[in-house]
Symmetry: D3
């Protein structure tokens, strides 16, 4: 029913997506389909890698890790209509306004992976002065600078 | 203290933008340039109309109205790099997450004016379940439905 | 897009719960199972009735209504370990602290349905002075008083 | 359980303050002393009147009303060091930033009673653009305008 | 200005509770009674120990430390109707939703001291995805895992 | 695009203020006037020094640094009506209530520079228990104690 183009990353993830898409049209997706779809979305965002924050949750909170994968990544981020770039820009804007710095950093990294430019992310942060005031904007700017430095040190252009 | 030029209609707005952009490169924009640029941005977003919430502020808070026009609309929303559509989607995402319902409604209306579809706005609202939880998402959805009904009654498609 | 079974009344709800619980241990619950479980949880909380706020969302936001039913009510509120009373008290405490008044009212009503006493709810609200300050606590108290008056007028003891 | 003295009018309030202050230095203030001190503070702020929001709470939440009087008004607002004007300006700044509109209105009214000028309150609201963004500042400005109109209609200068 | 009795150990705490409760019915509790009741509540929650965060406040903020003891612990947490377990679960739910991580950790520790199980606390945290979104829930989960590790290292079962 | 004059020291700052105020009454202030006014305000607050947080922003976010200087410091903090002391007390109250600890610390330092006493700042923090609850107040108290210690170590009285 839902076709999602450009799945690059692990073969298992692609396979799982085929399973999720390929069932008979009247069948309801099972929970394992939802988890597979969420895994695939996450690897699309995260350059084919597992997400360390998510994996660290599994020891004590396997059901929360499953909710992130099945619901947040699978049901929500896996939907059509918006492209991934727009969704990540929206997430960065919301997390910056709410002061959720570690999550803003993760999703700003996803945005860069998807081709959003550093200059575009800086503009999103600048909007935060209007949405939520200067302290939130300054902290979001500091978080973005941290991310830029980390990616420069890791050898990326940013 | 500050004189604010009355600029009415899109023609004057376009003229103001030309003035704001067309000055000699080494001149600093004056405050009246900034206000003119903000006016122009606002009319671009609001289908050439004045913004009633903003105008109502002028009686008691002329300096706040000027800050909205000069800073928020002129300095921030008037910047290049991001297109207006992306900026409004970011604003809707942030205001939905923060629970700023009247402001989300205004900016969702701007987004529709700029060609963002109702379906795209619904997806932005859906993201709010992840960013800020279900109450914030449900209230944003209710706000968006109100906007859709108001625009239907005003004769628009939405 | 998604077919949602119309489940009306407590008998069908109980049936759905049995279906959700009683499947073979190695089978993954399908999305329709999750929705059925969420429906059943909601009717347990809401004295066998449909929830008007939720139903009103379906026109414009069927996927959000499904997320509330399938994820929030089914996956989260439908879990074991905590009993329903404790879960509703936790929800009232959180919504009071966050200032989510309409949601606090709904969940305080669920709590009363489950046998939590008005006096207990008042004490939860009183805690809010410590958690989040006096304005949030006063608004939560006002919301609770509104709920008590509405239920008295509807003929209940509260 | 707790008896609350009915104190009506400024004379009784002043008397209560003398009682609260004038006890022997080594005696601990009793709860009724604290309530009396809070009553006196409130009447000082509220032009000798009872506070309707507070009185409405007493039916269902007598212990919360006592906490407001004994703790918030008595222990906190009744302390020395800061003068009442400064304390109300701080309260208006904090409530504006937090979006607690009804409470901002009450305390802005107290500030006017104490001689803070409307122009000073407008400046405090303007600061909110920096502290918490433009939506919070605009709503605080709207709240302040409502208060000004109400007081004008009630025959005051503002 | 205020003398605070040094109450050490559970025996003295129990004694203080008896004093606080056992006075003649028509006497108003004095401030020293309130502080003693708060001390006793705190030691009941904290396995008979003083609370380090609270003690560290005394140097610069003795009146805030007294407010925590006299008001928050004495007046609020010391009330009847709710049992201590329920009150701590409500506090954990509220602090998780608000993102008050250090306070969530302290009160989750109190809950464990009172016999609430780690599995129950995990479920309270899971509710946070609904109340306040996934970032708040993930941070609350991380905080709870930190607490579990600290208590394991301190030799407790959790 | 925007040239920012390097203004070093109080003499130049005072000069800039004279320029900003002393222009012909019908001339609009240019952006460089606004930046100069903001610089001057900042140095008045910060004992004649540059603000390190602000300077660190310039590398990646020159337009945000300019907005802080031109808008927040120049347009907002540079206004008349309120004196600097009152404005800093309002900022400390708002930042304490919002939980913006680093910003509360900066502005509490400005307040001390302007002659607000440590005892007055402690009282502002104490108000936070009413505005926003005990966790926010406790964190604000901890932040203020950090500031006091840092200034003691730097050789100041506080």
């Amino acid at each position: 029913m839902r076709s999602r183009k450009n799945i690059t990353g692990l073969a298992a993830a692609a396979c799982a997506v085929m399973l999720a898409i390929g069932g008979p049209a009247d069948a309801q997706p099972s929970d394992s389909d939802r988890l597979a779809r969420g895994e695939a979305v996450m690897r699309t965002l995260n350059a084919g890698q597992a997400q360390p924050t998510l994996e660290a949750l599994r020891r004590d909170f396997p059901f929360l890790a499953d909710a992130i994968t099945g619901y947040a990544l699978g049901d929500v981020w896996g939907r059509p209509v918006l492209d991934h770039r727009t969704r990540q820009i929206a997430a960065v804007a919301a997390f910056a306004a709410l002061g959720h710095r570690p999550f803003m950093k993760i999703h700003a990294g996803y945005a860069l992976n998807l081709g959003v430019t550093p200059e575009e992310l800086k503009e999103v942060v600048y909007l935060t002065t209007v949405h939520a005031g200067f302290p939130r904007a300054i902290e979001a700017a500091q978080t973005l600078s941290e991310l830029f430095r980390e990616r420069e040190q890791a050898g990326g252009v940013k």
